[in-house]
């Protein structure tokens, strides 16, 4: 019983590191963008890029680029790029202030330790 209580207390007092929670949220968004890009590209090109052996049907071209490249590669590439830029500039959390504050460059002496009992 005591053991159950202390486990319960432990769970209620337990807090995830915000850096971990942010990383998890970022991971979900990243997988979403990656997955949409994969399905769009492979799906579209799989349907429209392949020419049957011996086919004499002309491949449609716009501005010198086959249309399957425009709709199946260029457009998802641009979309993925824009979403990545949004993800980078507005979604990724700057949660490393703690570690950067602790860190010090090698040429700078660790002032926090100066004067402390050794």
């Amino acid at each position: 019983m005591n053991q159950t209580t202390s486990q319960s207390e432990l769970n209620s007092n337990f807090e995830y590191d915000p850096a971990y929670l942010n990383a998890l949220k970022e991971l979900y968004v990243m997988i979403g963008i990656w997955g949409v890009s994969l399905v769009w590209t492979v799906g579209y090109c799989g349907l429209f890029a392949y020419q049957a052996p011996g086919s004499t049907q002309a491949i449609p071209v716009v501005w010198g680029i086959p249309t399957w490249v425009i709709w199946g590669i260029v457009l998802p590439w641009v979309t993925c790029g824009l979403l990545t830029a949004w993800f980078a500039m507005f979604y990724i959390k700057q949660d490393d202030a703690d570690i950067l504050a602790e860190d010090f460059s090698p040429e700078t002496p660790p002032t926090i330790k100066q004067g402390s009992p050794s």
């Binding site: 850096a19 990383a23 970022e26 991971l27 990243m30 963008i33 990656w34 890009s37 994969l38 590209t41 492979v42 090109c45 799989g46 890029a49 392949y50 020419q51 052996p53 011996g54 086919s55 004499t56 049907q57 002309a58 491949i59 071209v61 501005w63 010198g64 680029i65 086959p66 399957w68 490249v69 199946g72 590669i73 260029v74 998802p76 590439w77 641009v78 993925c80 790029g81 979403l83 990545t84 830029a85 993800f87 980078a88 500039m89 990724i92 959390k93 700057q94 949660d95 490393d96 570690i99 950067l100 602790e102 860190d103 460059s105 090698p106 040429e107």
Partner: protein, 527 residues
């Protein structure tokens, strides 16, 4: 089939002023070495290991973006990838499509975590980071072993590409020829090297010396600074190349229209024999030379291009077999006819006959128009074509998820100076990769129109195209800049990997396993 050669045209390599290209390339090399000297001075004023192996962990936005991009781009990006585009056409856009998500996954997936952990654990190398994360010496040893073993293999094509570029640029320079000749007299006495081209060996030697000197002088900082320079050179080089190529082929619309009519050549081998058996002097037939078989009553005229230099050696009657392609597309035949009509450097050795053997049509795409602008793309040996949907999907995952674990990139994730830098670098990297890879697809789709019949040795298309378009544009010095781009790609990969191998051996094996109290002076020497 044996018949007389009716014409033999010099390859595309002719450059009006090779010295101008050499000068540009030389300026680039001097800049690289200058950066190494500067970083060496900086190294002297900082903690050796943190600075030498990780640049004191303070890379800013541009340095982080360029070093990540330049390390990702290798000889594969500027030799292998162009060769594949040349050989298989537009389908390579599908093959490389995963790069749209490489910045997102390559940086987004692990960057913050790796950076944080390496700071917390004060880890300088990847094996150290692995140990800090998993607390297992075995994992650390496995990481060290894999890095040293696998990266060594990965370096081989980088050296090959760099050697090819140096040879293409310098082979007409008197000093280079003399050095190659002297080296040849030495290597001809070594059993293992006697059959190797001295020019190629000289290229390997020069490239190795250059990279070893600047990497060992300046360490990570030198590698990052040169990566920035190399990243800029690659970016500018590719854009200039794109402009010139599009101009010279008459625009993308024309290029794709011509490609849609092209069919794959027939692969074959050719040998050359003297007609005058009493003559014994050496005959050299340069790579990229053309020859024709005249039409007969039961066969139309046939056109061939060799992809290797053929020699009928002194005292011998016949050359060895060399790689060759039979040109079957009308556009390429017309192009040859126009070059022949211009009478530009035509050589007709009347005393030579050609024999073509081992003719092999493409397994997929032979005689099929439109194969260069659609999937799966022509294939020499696979009857289902070059790129199936399953393989394309695998490559999408490989570029993104596999690339995220590339050791050279992971080390860079340990070295940026905070999330603020990461955010901006990630956004910039999207632009960088998009421009580079989409441009490469456009450039090398067009390259079939400018340099036909290179299908047996397409990995030479990058240096050949660079020299060809610069010469055609009347700015031969530009060839030096264009050739510096793939050279920079090979160099930036080699320097990063050499440093990783060095850090793994010195820090993780020697310092951790053999001599924990090793002095900084000894570490410097070993590194």
């Amino acid at each position: 089939m044996t018949t007389s050669i009716t014409s033999l045209i010099n390859p595309v390599l002719a450059i009006s002023d090779a010295n101008a290209a050499l000068l540009t390339f030389g300026v680039y090399c001097v800049l690289v070495m200058g950066l190494a000297v500067l970083s060496h001075r900086l190294l002297a004023s900082r903690s050796f290991q943190a600075e030498y192996f990780l640049g004191s962990r303070n890379l800013g936005v541009w340095a982080f973006m360029f070093t990540f991009a330049a390390t990702s781009a290798s000889a594969g990006s500027f030799a292998g990838f162009p060769a594949l585009i040349y050989a298989h056409g537009w389908v390579l856009a599908f093959w490389i499509a995963g790069y749209m998500a490489v910045p997102l996954v390559g940086m987004g997936l692990l960057a913050k975590r790796i950076n944080r952990m390496s700071r917390q654990a004060d880890a300088i190398t990847l094996p150290e980071l692995m140990y800090a994360r998993f607390g297992s010496t075995a994992i650390s040893i496995i990481a060290t072993t894999l890095i040293v073993f696998l990266l060594t293999f990965y370096l081989v094509p980088q050296f090959k590409m760099a050697s090819l570029i140096l040879q293409s640029l310098m082979k007409d320079a008197p000093l280079w020829s003399e050095c190659a000749r002297v080296l040849g007299t030495v290597t001809s006495k070594i059993a293992y090297l006697e059959s190797e081209d001295p020019g190629k060996l000289l290229g390997l030697l020069t490239f190795s010396l250059m990279v070893i000197v600047y990497t060992s002088m300046g360490g990570f900082r030198a590698v990052v600074w040169t990566d920035v320079l190399q990243g800029i050179v690659m970016f500018v080089g590719v854009l200039v190349m794109l402009g010139l190529v599009l101009y010279q082929v008459g625009g993308m619309s024309r290029a794709t229209a011509v490609m849609s009519e092209m069919v794959p050549p027939v692969l074959c081998e050719a040998s050359f024999s003297r007609t005058d058996q009493t003559d014994s002097k050496e005959i050299q037939i340069p790579s990229e030379s053309w020859f024709e078989f005249a039409a007969t009553s039961d066969s139309p005229a046939r056109l061939f291009r060799i992809n290797e230099t053929a020699f009928v050696r002194e005292g011998q009657k016949q050359s060895d077999l060399v790689k060759c392609v039979e040109i079957v597309s009308q556009y390429e035949r017309d192009l040859f006819a126009s070059w022949k009509a211009e009478d530009s450097a035509v050589i007709i050795p009347a005393d030579v006959t050609a024999k073509v053997v081992n003719e092999k049509p493409y397994a997929y795409g032979a005689g099929q128009k439109g194969v260069y602008i659609s999937a799966p793309g022509p294939s020499e040996d696979k009857d289902f074509g070059f790129l199936t949907i399953a393989v394309a999907m695998s490559f999408f995952m490989y570029w993104t998820i596999g690339g995220a674990g590339q050791p050279g990139n992971m080390v860079r994730l340990m070295a940026f100076n905070g999330t603020r830098t990461l955010k901006r670098s990630l956004a910039l990297l999207v632009i960088y990769f998009s421009v580079i890879y989409i441009s490469l697809v456009l450039i090398f789709c067009c390259s079939r129109l400018l340099i036909p019949g290179l299908d047996q040795t397409p990995d030479r298309i990058m240096p050949l195209l660079s020299m060809n378009i610069a010469a055609s544009a009347g700015v031969p010095w530009l060839a030096g800049l264009l050739m510096a781009a793939p050279f920079a790609a090979a160099m930036s990969t080699v320097d990063s990997f050499m440093l990783m191998i060095s850090s793994s051996l010195v820090r993780d094996v020697y310092q951790k396993g053999i001599s924990p109290n090793v002095s900084e002076k000894t570490m410097k020497r070993l590194s």
